[in-house]
């Protein structure tokens, strides 16, 4: 029962977030100087042509009615058509999304499978070699920009040793280096969170109880402390995953991968405001959705959160 209520509350929050973002995007785009009809028509167009384009875009109507039309189309996942090619924005996004999703999944997997065990071990064996390795790893991960790491990896594995392909996204092998360069930075953040949270849990009173019950140290640490210690890790991982789903502009550029990042970059170059607008909304929805799912997962692991 608590769970149903919690679920409904979080779902309401998700919808509210999307609504607020749609509204913000709508008004920000309208406030920015420059009439899109003029941009499309070009400098030499006649006033009649410009007006015709306005009618086509719907920008001739009052702001309020434009806003209502906008909201209803967002609700139907209709982000309009691009100004340049006239294709539906959602179609372009959906063409690129699988690649970005794959990259994000690979990146976050590296983050989880490397960082969580390393972070937990660092906390359990504090100031040991493990811990120092973990600290160095996370410092490097946070200090090194993903694209620079990507270039170094390319030079090493695609140019010098030549065991991995250089550009493109045709085979699974193409995904290895971009995933590693994206995942490294995520791993650094997740590792720090896992370590800090485990250290905190290991100092809690229920750990004394667990020991007083005669449980083995393994059970005390990897059962009692771990289940509590992983909670903040879920939230952080969700946020990191959400970021990656918005596309990784620079890493995609370095590896010439046609993902969302490059699509949006292209939209900005072309001043294609429906594409940019649709992109922002899409990323916002995906980001909120991932956080929503992380919250739900959190509440399954920690039922206490359900009764706030």
């Amino acid at each position: 029962m608590d769970f149903v209520k919690f679920f409904a509350r979080r779902l309401g929050r998700l919808l509210l977030t999307v609504f607020i973002i749609s509204t913000l995007v709508f008004f920000v785009v309208r406030v920015i100087p420059g009439d899109p009809a003029l941009i499309i028509a070009g400098m030499d167009a006649s006033p009649e042509d410009v007006q015709a384009i306005r009618v086509k875009l719907g920008t001739d109507k009052p702001l309020l009615s434009q806003y209502l039309v906008w909201l209803s189309s967002i609700a139907r996942f209709d982000f309009g058509t691009t100004l340049i090619s006239g294709e539906p924005v959602i179609k372009l996004i959906m063409e690129r999304f699988p690649l970005t999703l794959t990259l994000a999944l690979l990146g976050i997997s590296i983050g989880i499978f490397v960082a969580v065990p390393l972070g937990v071990m660092s906390a359990v064996k504090r100031w040991s070699l493990w811990d120092y390795f973990g600290l160095v790893f996370s410092q490097l991960g946070m200090a090194i920009p993903s694209f620079w790491l990507g270039m170094l990896l390319l030079i090493l594995f695609a140019v010098k040793i030549r065991i991995l392909p250089l550009f493109g996204a045709d085979t699974p092998a193409h995904f290895i280096l971009p995933a590693v360069s994206l995942g490294f930075a995520r791993a650094a953040i997740i590792l720090r969170m896992a370590r800090a949270s485990m250290i905190e849990e290991l100092s809690k009173e229920y750990i004394i109880t667990a020991r007083a019950k005669g449980l083995t140290e393994r059970m005390v640490k990897y059962k009692h402390a771990l289940k509590n210690g992983l909670l903040p890790v879920i939230t952080v991982t969700g946020i990191q995953f959400g970021y990656m789903l918005g596309g990784a502009i620079i890493v995609e550029q370095v590896f010439s991968m046609p993902g969302l990042g490059r699509l949006f970059l292209f939209g900005i170059y072309q001043r294609d405001f429906t594409l940019i607008q649709g992109g922002v909304i899409f990323v916002a929805i995906i980001f909120s959705l991932v956080n929503f799912l992380a919250d739900i997962l959190y509440s399954i692991v920690n039922p206490k959160i359900r009764v706030e």
């Binding site: 009173e205 109880t209 667990a210 019950k213 449980l215 083995t216 059970m219 509590n228 920690n302 009764v307």
Partner: protein, 330 residues
């Protein structure tokens, strides 16, 4: 002393020191305690006097460093617990010696259901399978007054009230039929009305299971309610120890007397409650001689230089004081 009482656990000359850099804090300075079957032994003292360190040593959970056991033995079933390895000690903890803590909301794991927190012990110590352990956990919950339907098995700690949590904590502690139970201020965090219920429960379970109980409290009033035998600890030493009746009828140590005067009493309604001036000395700065002398109304020069030994008279009433039994003008 009860004639048929069998000695269960004995602490002899236990000394504990905490080392921080070059600073040494003598938390326990040679204490002796005897625990008998089916008997609740109350250990009373102000905070910082060494009550919890004593229980931590019996459990074999003294954090080392900084803690270090400098002397003594803890005898239980013909073994000196202090000589056991961590692995051997683990098979005693929870199985034969169990513990109930002060704040159940902190000492229960928030992420596991009560059922799991009970059955994991049964499965580990008694090799029960899942179904059997769950059946037994259900019985235990009935035993501590949490209903016979086992509804609490599937509850998380946050779904229970404070009193229910403490009952669950007790169910966990007694799950493997321990011989000896340590209750460290088990009622301090509870409402007064609940306190009495929990005290009564501990008494009942002691009789039912035949356990010996070490009941730690800073509150002599609570100890009077529950204990059969009482020891008073001050600055890491036992200053007085006796059966409850003798101790409350005829306290010999001035500290015990002062503690008793600070219990609210219906007969002295309207009068000011007595307080003991000063506070327990820090363990790294214990006064010379009798540690209580700076606060003692009877202190003289001998008390400042010579530490009185804990001596017993013929009826087993032990006291460590140069002026035992003397009175003064309050």
């Amino acid at each position: 002393m009860m004639a048929d009482a069998k000695e269960l656990l004995k602490v002899e000359n236990l000394g504990v020191c905490f080392i921080h850099g070059t600073m040494e804090a003598h938390a326990l300075r040679g204490i002796d305690l005897s625990f008998y079957e089916k008997e609740i032994h109350g250990l009373v003292g102000e905070s910082g006097s060494g009550k919890t360190v004593t229980s931590t040593c019996i459990m074999g959970l003294l954090p080392s460093p900084p803690g270090e056991i400098t002397s003594g033995r803890i005898l239980f079933e013909n073994e000196n617990l202090l000589e056991l390895s961590q692995g051997q000690m683990r098979s005693y903890r929870g199985r034969k010696i169990a513990m109930v803590f002060q704040e159940p909301s902190k000492y229960l794991n928030p992420a596991f259901k009560i059922g799991e927190q009970i059955t994991e012990m049964l499965r580990l110590h008694l090799d029960m399978n899942k179904e059997k352990a769950r059946e037994r956990a259900k019985e235990l919950l009935g035993l501590v007054g949490l209903g016979k339907d086992g509804r609490v098995l599937d509850s998380y700690p946050h779904e229970l009230s404070g009193g229910m949590k403490q009952r669950a904590m007790i169910a966990i502690a007694i799950s493997c039929n321990p011989r000896f139970l340590i209750a460290d201020e088990p009622t301090t965090a509870l409402d007064v009305t609940l306190q009495l219920q929990i005290l009564r429960l501990i008494k009942e379970l002691k009789d039912l299971l035949g356990m010996g109980v070490l009941f730690i409290s800073h509150d002599l009033g609570v100890v009077k309610e529950v204990a059969d035998r009482v020891s008073v600890i001050y600055a890491g030493r036992i200053v007085e120890s006796s059966t409850k009746g003798t101790l409350f009828d005829k306290p010999l140590h001035p500290y015990t007397k002062l503690l008793m005067l600070s219990i609210p009493d219906a007969h002295r309604r309207g009068q000011r409650l007595a307080t003991i001036p000063g506070r327990v000395p820090d363990a790294d700065a214990t006064p010379s001689g009798c540690a209580f002398h700076p606060r003692c109304p009877l202190a003289d020069d001998r008390c400042k230089s010579e530490n009185p030994e804990l001596r017993g008279n013929e009826d087993g009433h032990k006291v460590a004081c140069h002026h035992a039994g003397e009175s003064w003008n309050i």
